[in-house]
Amino acid sequence: MKIVIVGAGEVGFHIASHLARENKDVVVIDQDAAAIRRLSENIDVQVIQASGSSPAALMEAGIKSAELMLAVTNSDETNLVACLVSDMLSPNTKKLARIRAADFDEFHETFKIKAPRIETVINPEIEVVKTIVQMMSVPGAVDVGEFADGRVKLIGVRLEKHEKAIGIPLSELSARVKQKAPLISAIIREDKLVIPRGNDKLLAGDLVYFMSEDRNLTDYLSFFDKHSEPVKRVLIIGGGRIGYRLARLLEDQPVYTKIIEKNSERCKVIADKLNKAVILHGDGSDQMLLSEENIHEMDMVVALTGEEETNILSSLLVKQMGAKKTITMISRFSYFPLMERIGLDQIVSPRLSAINSILQHIRRGKVLSARSIKGEEAEVLEAMAMETSDIVDKPLNVIGMPKGSLVTGIIRDDQFIIPSGSSIIKPGDRIIIFAVKQAIPKIEKILAVKLEFF
């Protein structure tokens, strides 16, 4: 499968490295020599230094034989033109574009049908707001993802000291704690991903992932001593585009929202557009202002300014002042490993959100949705079990799943089944699989319909 990526920025780089690892043929076009060099020195992809919207460059990249074109440069205009040119050169190539400006919001559907015919428009701002709302819906969790159209959630919780589940082998969890335990899909321990077996034990500091339906969620969360009182009071630091989008979304919910914004002109603009939210003009790291606004009463503080350092410091400050939860937006990936250590667990990143939703679209077909967790160590895939694939009509313990992967859920009709070794997947089931990055190509093979090879 050949994929052309226009733009070698953070998003382009990470998607390219994802795909190259899976032995796909990736060609990346970018104008910036330094970005191109970073790519060609670290990843096994072909690079072309040229403007991404140039027809000659796209031809050189072999757009005609490409199945997919991703336009992810920093400029909306370049992305649009790149899609337009690809559409002229090779109408059969599927196109995905990152488009950020809110002006285009209403036109995402139009783009699909008319001229550039962009299969999916990805707006990282919309994606990141979606991620924030998902996180707010499960305040005890560090990471939240949705599968099967939102019916099943992927939850990641951080284990703290003195929790009852610590030190017990997974296979004995339910019996020893005397409470129904979720099936643990994955553990992230000291930045390394572990797909656990029955005799593995949970340790303090682990980030534990499990799948759950909405109705079991409260039980499961209380198993890990996490409580999910709904978020009632939210403070948003930074009234930029993302902060504004979030506030507008929260207006329809029973949530009391405050926004702190530094720029007085911007305050006027958003005050004009929002009806319920309280707009405060001031600095998000101003202690006086924060205590004046009862920061310790806040259920959730979301730091969304354009400067990630400000976001990090503001989050630390409000936490110390008594805010219950924080969500911090950062964009530089190299800061990710730091976050856990300084106690900021809930992080969002427009780029990571964009990568996630692009991955979903790349995998589409056999795979219904996909999501990477914690950096890029692993992916959670939701797939349709096809009639002639290797995975159906055999008990799971016989199939021999690739090392580093685990089937963590089966959705049959309206039922969500937590599988055991003897469970059998039937054709038409939707299955949710956890897999470390090395196992993904093998998983794709298992899911594939055998007839496709003939």
Binding site: D25, N42, Q46, V47
Partner: protein, 483 residues
Amino acid sequence: MRWRYILSVIGILTAVLGLTMILPLLVGVLYRDSSVKPFLYAMAITVSSGLILYFFCRRAKAEIISQREGMAIVAIGWTVIGLFGALPFYLEGGEFRFFVDALFESVSGFTTTGSSILTNVEGISKGSLFWRSLIQWLGGMGIIVLSVAILPFLGVGGMQLYKAEVPSPIPDKLRPRIRDTAMVLWKVYALISLGQVILLMAGGMGPFDSLCHTFTTMPTGGFSTKNASVAHFNSAYFDGVMIVFMVLAGINFSLHYQFMKGNTLAFWKDSECRFFLGIVVGLMAIVSFDLHGKVYSSVGSAFRYGSFQVVSILTTTGYATADYEQWPAMSQLILLLCMFLGASAGSTGGGMKCLRVMLCFKFCYKELFSLIHPHAVMHVKIGGRSVPEDVMRSVMGFLALYVGLFALSSVLLAGMGVDFITSFSAVAATIGNIGPGFGMVGPVENFAAIPFWGKWLLIWCMLLGRLEIYTIIILMVPEFWRK
């Protein structure tokens, strides 16, 4: 630097090399000669050493190799391969009774130099003759490129290895994945080689000689199975076929790939290729004109011998159909200068490479131009594209190092008691991977008479030339070893 990992990769490379010894072994069995036992032992030692090294270090896994590690693997790997490649020669004995001689022959093979210490080439066994040719063929496209193509585990790290083994001022990736790129290059290489074998056999050359000569033409190596080199066959047809294939081998292989994919103008559109072909044709004409009347009475012979020698030296092959030391001074000097120029970047040829020389000339012109127009903004361009500043710097650095190391080595060799023209040309011929030089190491002589330490020096020069200076010389910079 993760040494365990580096050693495990070198272990694998050694094992792969050991497996290729099965081919000369088969030749030995076929001709029932004395080479069977040496090859059997050499193969056993090489394969087992490789596997032992691998198994001791295999736990070290790495997904990404740094540029530094890539260079270390390639430089040390080539040295180790040279050492193991010398084993069959050493075990056979005869003219190879000293290990340094066997090593010289082996490194001269792998680096596609073609300098030999053999006085009587026809005196060694068929198996060893075949091995001499085969290692040139393997070394031409690169044994590490071969490993990247066939061993999936090198994966991402393969790129650093590829860049260290096939250094090119302007890197060219033919396919999105490095493994496919390596595979494509080897396929193109094998396909053109097949063409040459067929043409040589069609002219009546025996299968063994056809194969051996193809294996040394395509990598621009220059080992022959005959004492008199290609002159032995004394056939205008063979000379013609070899001229064509030497020129093909001197052209960037990505152009061959593009041509085979249907881009018929690929050669013409590439400015380096035009430059290279222009020089080939120009020098052929000048040398033939110079020879006519002075050495050869007929225009035909002057053209035949003149152009063969020009192509043979320019592409750094090093075959001989005539003793060019008897030629007029101008022709000799042209051949000597051709040793420095070399073939195209991305070809199997050695030397400084046309592309670098071209860039250097263009850079000089740019300097002159900006003296005349001090405010002019001007870029050095190749094929209509500006050459980035850092590429230009690396090219200038390369040329300076090449000339500097050449000067240093030739003075050292002269210091060992070798005469002026021999030291000068022996170093030029080895650092440029050509083969024969002038004087004591001329086309009808060999390198046997070079003193012991001189041979070590020339072995080092050959590796320097094949890996294009940086990869080898970097190991000699103390900063490289600092933690």
